[in-house]
Symmetry: C5
């Protein structure tokens, strides 16, 4: 656990450094996180017949592309270079508030409707192990999709492959379907994480049932924390996709709407899974604590029975161990058997009391051995 804890401690420290923007700054101001990776801009432009990919350094180059292709996907990775991002915003005419939300990576999933475009934020689980989530931002225009990722490495490689190989219906369609394909990949990337967690819950449950769990409480606590984090990430997507479906800006075609409905179903499914697992882990914790308590009670009952039987016996023995000169029993011929028989009577009486109260024998399996000993 120490290795795991160490990793988490590092992440916590990072989180503490990457704070919210200083208060009092005018709205629409962008603050770069000094640790953010440098920004790279990659264009994939295509229509049903041709496809071009290019990495551009200066956002001004974009002006040469727009309007000349069916669909242009501007894929921005890394939020470290504020100037590049700002210039990109100017080229495409983006609202400062939206630009601020792009670099302030603490947004919930949401849709903001502007006149010419939709601004959408989403969250992706980045690293299954470290349970780190990453903000994704999209600007959806007619014919242009602009996406921002916090870090290199994403779940969109298969989408790019499908574009290049002309596989699926992706190439024939407009920017809204491309956006759907990307969002769908993001939502689908939650499933393996949930499955990993569900396997983990199963494992812990199995271990507790077999009595082999070493630190189930730590594990359950960590699982619950992960579930909380996933819930916080995924839940706003419900509302977000719902708004996309009902949106009447004309940016999303009726055909694509059917696909978003499918996406919506997946989000609901994920939310229900998370809620079910929150309930399950709560049950599991209660179950474990009850089991522990039960075993504890067995232990205590055993101690009580042993102690209360032997304490009076030892007392009798120590009485006859006193060194008084005038103790008549000591010189009796049958003093020793007499003392032993007192002790036997006492222990039988005590066992009878225990039996009457149901602490040993018929009612509880746990003390059969103790009794028959």
């Amino acid at each position: 656990m120490t290795k795991h804890s160490a990793k988490r401690r590092v992440l916590r420290k990072q989180r503490r450094l990457r704070k919210h923007a200083p208060r009092g700054t005018p709205p629409g101001t962008m603050h770069a996180d000094p640790n953010a990776p440098a920004t790279s801009i990659r264009i994939i432009a295509f229509d049903s017949e041709r496809l071009a990919e290019k990495e551009i350094a200066d956002p001004e180059e974009l002006r040469d592309w727009i309007g000349k292709w069916g669909t242009i996907w501007i894929d921005v990775t890394g939020l470290g270079s504020i100037d590049k991002i700002r210039s990109l915003g100017e080229v495409l005419g983006l609202h400062p508030l939206a630009m601020e939300d792009v670099v302030n990576v603490h947004q919930r999933a949401k849709v903001d409707v502007y006149r010419d475009y939709l601004f959408i934020t989403s969250r992706m689980i980045d690293d299954c192990d470290a349970m780190q989530s990453e903000q994704l931002s999209f600007f959806l225009f007619h014919g242009v999709l602009l996406s921002f990722q916090e870090r290199p490495g994403d779940c969109w490689e298969p989408v790019r492959q499908r574009l290049r190989t002309h596989r699926g219906k992706l190439r024939m369609t407009a920017s809204d379907y491309l956006f759907y394909a990307l969002l769908d990949s993001v939502i689908d990337s939650y499933f393996p994480v949930m499955e990993m967690l569900s396997d983990h819950v199963d494992l812990v449950e199995e271990k507790i049932e077999r009595g082999e769990a070493q630190t189930p409480i730590h594990e359950i606590h960590r699982l619950r924390g992960h579930l909380l984090m996933i819930r916080k990430s995924i839940r706003p997507h419900r509302e977000m996709i719902n708004e996309l479906i009902r949106n009447d800006s004309g940016l999303i075609s009726p055909e694509t709407r059917i696909f978003f409905r499918d996406c919506y179903d997946h989000v609901i499914q994920l939310i229900e899974m998370v809620d079910t697992y929150r309930d399950l882990t709560a049950d599991l914790r209660d179950f474990y604590m009850s089991a522990v308590n039960h075993r504890m009670n067995e232990v205590m009952k055993f101690l009580t029975i042993m102690s209360t039987i032997f304490i009076p016996l030892s007392f009798v023995a120590s009485v006859y161990g006193m060194n008084f000169e005038y103790m008549p029993e000591l010189s009796w011929q049958l003093g020793y058997p007499f003392a032993l028989s007192i002790m036997t009577t006492m222990s039988i009486g005590m066992l009878f009391v225990f039996w009457r109260r149901g602490w040993i024998g018929h009612r509880d399996q746990a003390f059969h051995d103790a009794e028959s000993r």
Copy 2:
């Protein structure tokens, strides 16, 4: 319990193998579960006068049937043969997203409205013991009902019998009523499961009251898990049937709507039963833990009383068991009675303290015996 646990462990392993589709695949792609049973297609075609049943191998044969019968029920069992299912989808013109949901058996109950048909998914409790649920999918056309089951074995045999024997109003009516009859069977199949669980809860409660429960915590935990699973299955049906009732596609006639309303009542009743039993089992667990705690306290009080009475007595005895040469009491004529009377005084004083604090005697039944001993 080990037998039961073994069964669950096998199921868990199966679940772990049957994963969600690999991420990054284009939407609408079907992934066969390699362990799924092979697909068999069975047609029951009927109108008020005639009825024909046939098992077909090639979905293309369907074209000979459609349009020639009042109602055709295409009953597909087993999702192992992706090609057959895909070809079926092409014959009937089904949307790829719906087809994907048919084979991806993790759907919640829902209705998706397409132009010519409704796509409905539902879940059935398969195996009462193993608490395994199975996905059912329906495509409802005018005059055609297409149903998919995961595995052979269902709760629809009585419906088939009623079709064959012309019993009930089933033969005279259209595909929407047939669909209602099937859905009603599915919903009704939850009741025996709920009754089994409710009997189990009663039994556990009775056992706890009689003090005979061996591992009530394990049983309650398992019952709660089952209830959670049933809730997850049944709850989405509420919304689903509600959408069927309000649906205005013309596929569901006003007469059948009354029947769906009845179905809706059953679902609400089931949901309330599950919620009530979740509450009841939570109460039961708290009750059991309280009872255990209470007994534990009795045990501890007994130990404390015994120990604190005898510990000072033993101390006095061991003092007079010391071997000092110059201990005046040892040579007193009345040394022994003197020591015994000290001990008696101490124990009476101690009992008085206990009585004053209400640990023995008047306030709590539990120690009457201890006192009168």
Copy 3:
């Protein structure tokens, strides 16, 4: 408690026998419970001037009555004779689904709107002690009210008396007001039950405060079970009466609507009472467990203080009880006082440690006696 438990066990067994209808039967099929009492049909027909009462054996007789009286109340008791009930349904033209719900006595309170009549189900608490609830079903026509009870014995005798004695406005009004009068009696019959439970809760609380409670946990658990059962019965009435108020079928006149609004207020009041008592009993259980825990801690602290004071003392005594030939202290003139003074010092030191940690003395009342002893 055993008597009470025995009663409950019998009820549970009955419940287990009286199962849900076997699955797979066509909708609208009626299944008689073999233990249900035989059906008797009693007619009370009246208008503002005359009133007639008759027990009829054959539902066909009804045809002679209908249309000839202002209002006819057909009061059916006992659901054992399926044929009679079916024939009654045919005479009045009732929908099979509604008839099925009449005999399947597990319905929640609800309103189903049919063309000529309303079908309403409600639940009544039958036996305050056994906490058994009974289903009531009503068919409300213009001029005819048909009511079904599970068992003889009801809360409607006062209504019948008012009809016979012409007391109140009952005789002057139509079937909807009669239905209101019956439903009002049913709702009002919950109040004495709630009052009985509330008195019980008060009593248990008083007993716990006085420390006289013997098995409060059992009682609280039973009370919570009763409250859950009442909540399950009463809660659907809210929605049901709300639908009656908003119903625009013309069967319920605007004047009667005001009375249903009053009924609605009573239901809300009952639901709030049940919820408050659920919260109260949860608080009570927590309170009791906390009190038990607190007393337990006192007991344990006492044990610890006694043990840890005497254990070292006894050790010293047993050291000087060893029989070694060469133990210099034994032959000292002041060996005995020396040993005693070691013991005194140890116990004072120990008491000082306890006092420093706040286990005895100033901080906690509980050990004042122990210290000053």
Copy 4:
């Protein structure tokens, strides 16, 4: 606490006597509580220029007043004289159902709309200490306000003073504003009660933090009960005032509506306070129980350490206290030092084991003393 408990017991007995109306009585029947104080009727009639006050004995006298003054406030105190109240109802033409609700003092706050008037019930906290609530009923006509109180003594004296002294805008306005002024006083009378409770919660928290709390569990339990009772009283006011604001009967003028909105804010504020304090007291109870548990653990650990160190030592000592004739160690020259060194070794070993497990020393502050002892 006994004094407090005694008071509560008396109240409970009263509550048990003052039951709900006997079941089966016709709706609209008034049942007098035999313990209710006698009814007195007091009229305050005013317009902007004149004001008259009179106590009347016979409700018929009212006919001389109505229509001759701008606003008439009929202030009825005590519900003991059913005849007077009934005659009052006849003079003003009140609906029997509303009259029944006036004397059946278990109503929740609500608004019932009748043709000529509004019927409003509200609840007031009567006695801060006893936590007794009183029902207030109002009939709001154009130009007439009829109010009923259960008992003499209210929070309206300042309103009467303002009427008499012409202070505030009260005299210039209609019956709706007078009603607002009264309702506002009622709502505001909850604030001192909440403040008293909040101070009590603060005090208990402070005491627990200082470790001075004697019976915090009893106090928290009582506070939670009070909060539940207040919540039950205040919560329905939200809906009630909301209905007053949206009411379009013309009885409430748009100018007064602004004032009701202010009243609504106060109710929301009260409900949030109650909910916050319910959460706070739950936290407080958990906190106290955790603290108790923690101290308990310390106590137990101390006992364990002391016992497990001395138990083996005592055993060694008692071995060499045996009286066998042939025990070689007894006659060794160094037998005594040998035994002592065995004991020392054992205790050092035991302390090492404890230290390794973190029960003493570095990890937990609690045992620093024990170690350094």
Copy 5:
């Protein structure tokens, strides 16, 4: 902790002094808190070309300003001088109910719509450490913004700077955007507080994991109290801002509405953070208590094992320590070895029993040492 507690005790006392207005006063009456700081009024008037700042003593001076500037911000600090505030209200024609809410500093965030202006209240976290919140009130007119603060010291200095330096779009815009800028600062001032709390939660979690936490229960309790307080402050802002966005009074321009939408997102984000942290701390408390319980069980098991092994051994030893004259074993040649072998047998038997029950050895890591000792 004592320092911290002392600070809280002082705050509590202050809170107890600063009560709600005495009951019975007419609505719209202003009550000054005697401890409130004196009122100072500061005007910042500007349009896109010029800016003037002035501190005025007499509200009448305002008449010289209004209408002569694009936007006027009247910034009132301190609520001690009721006369000044009243006269300000008269100059601007404010409603008495709104004025009352300004000085009665217990309001929830809300919007009240009047004919010419909006009245808005909000709450700001004042002092991160003491968790004290301050009420802010705003009157938003066309061209005039009036703001009230309880105490000097706010989070608006950056806004003033931006006004003076002509930075941002602030100077070019109307009073609604100025109001947005101020409200945005208030909302943003919650983020550092939440981050401080989240860091604290992380720290406590880390400490508990490392076993270094001294009084985690106190810390968690305090954190939960802070979260409750923040939730109470922030939650009403959701509704408040929502009403601002939907408000159609023309006081808020469509361009500013986009900015309020951003503000709304921040509030939702804050509410979700608070809820998540409430859940997290509850989990943390359960986790800690479980960990404590688990360690306690280990301790108890150790005690039980040690005691039950040595108790019978000591008994045997004390039996042979009795001083009877006729005890045959004492004079046996092999009596001593005989006694020792009895003891060895007993302890081996006892260890076997423990092992069989799984208290030592294979099942639980915790007792490996104990066993191998």
